[in-house]
Amino acid sequence: MMTYQDTTTPAGGDGPILRCEGITKAFGGVNAVNGATFDVPRNKITALIGPNGAGKTTVVNLLSGAMKIDSGKVQLGTTDITNMERYKIARLGLMRTFQLSRELGGLTVLENLLVAPKVQAGESLFNIFFRPRLLKREERQNLERAVEILRTYGLFDLRDNLARELSGGQKKLLEISRGVMASPSLFLLDEPMAGVNPALIDKIGGYILDMKAQGVTVLMIEHNLNVVERICDNVVVLAEGRTLATGTMSELRENKEVVTAYLGEIINAGPSH
């Protein structure tokens, strides 16, 4: 069976896997994130929702190290990752996807997965020349795992295609499978269902539930409240860069502030949401 979580990362332990305390980020004079505070419970799927411009993607960028935090603190497990370099954050077990899928277009689908594992002996010139056996063993293990993941995500037949040749939906799956290959403890998904057909939405929902079953914690930005209702255990609502509320979806429906700021808008907009 495919295993996801690498328990050797500092993200292991008890308590919330991620603690975000009063983070702020301003662009010019505009406060995109204005003191967002929330916890991401371990081994659960948490949704990050809110109206457009609430600062959801900025929060994900700040958590993953893609942007510098102006003030506040982020803790992954017991490790303070505030403004840590993004490759170090990734190596600690926090992986992410993007709203518009990104792929290493000049690499094949298989190679996209093979670059993902956190630390590899093959990164060292010394090992390349003097420890070829270790490298071979490592490459074989990575290859076996990558093939297994590609089969699970239905990309095996495309393994030798360049990633740039894939369709939009396939790129979404590739991005998720590349994250899975890195054995994340916490996986941040930025609108994984955006722009994909209903059949694929169900499929991706299934993959996310499967990750949770394997011990991966997921924090996902999602506008599709049906999906949130169906697969998420916990919801964080952001508005104007602040945490408006946290709880289950049914609890939030009872929260007047949330209904006024976000849910009312969604309900009024009709069934497309």
Binding site: L104, L107, R164
Partner: protein, 292 residues
Amino acid sequence: MSQFWMAFGFGLVTASVLAIAAVGLSLQFGITNYINFAYGDFMALGAYTAYVFNAEIFHLNIWIAMIFGSVIMGVFAVLINQFLLSPFARRFNKSFYVLIVTFGLSLVMLNLVYSIWGANNRTYSMKLEIYKHIGPFLLNKYQIIVMIISIAIMLGVHLMLKTTRLGKSMRAMSDNTTLAMTSGIDTRRITTVTWFLSGMLAGLAGTVLGITESQITPASGELFLFVIFAAVIVGGVGSIYGAMAGAVLIGLATEISAAYINPAYKLDVAFVFLIFTLLFRPNGLFARPGKA
């Protein structure tokens, strides 16, 4: 006809030297995204470092001296990147500023070589080898060894890029540095290793150029840089395999043309190729979207 084949043989030798240099320059560009105008001076300094080990102080065999020269140039390139170019690249977003710095570095390195070794030609301490007919080609032992070294390096670079994590990480960085970082690739470390490798290749190319031309001069690298640019651009900027192919094309074209028109026009022939490539295939003959 024999004149053609002789020129073809010389073309293969030139292509071999060119390929080593062009692959080094392409590796550097693929990772850093700026052109290093001091690359020719790295070649010259590498050639003179090998000269120190071979003829000036240590009197080592030329091939061993070449290895020393290359490794020292690898370390030198890492230091230059670490303490000069990287701080500029971090500070200024536009590669134009770094380009100007590499121009300045080129001048400093050229004058450094002039001040240490003077303007006179130097020659490596090597046994004189007579030219022999090998099939239709007329080559000497050193030229054949240089071709073998070049083929081995191309094969090594290919295997590294395709089969090792280091090579895949280099290609990932070349493709999308941000995404590479987000995937957990230590881009600073990969950049350092790339500079080491490209510095080594520059030193190696400078030395084998000195071996095949039977002399080294402080400006030999700078002059050769224009031919390297032609090979890299004809092949497709930033594409390692394009650089290899571009080197073969430019190497053969310059030497074969030299057999039929004045050899003084070699550089012009390379530039005619370059201009036509830019006119009709601006991304290079072998370029695909993305790099490496």
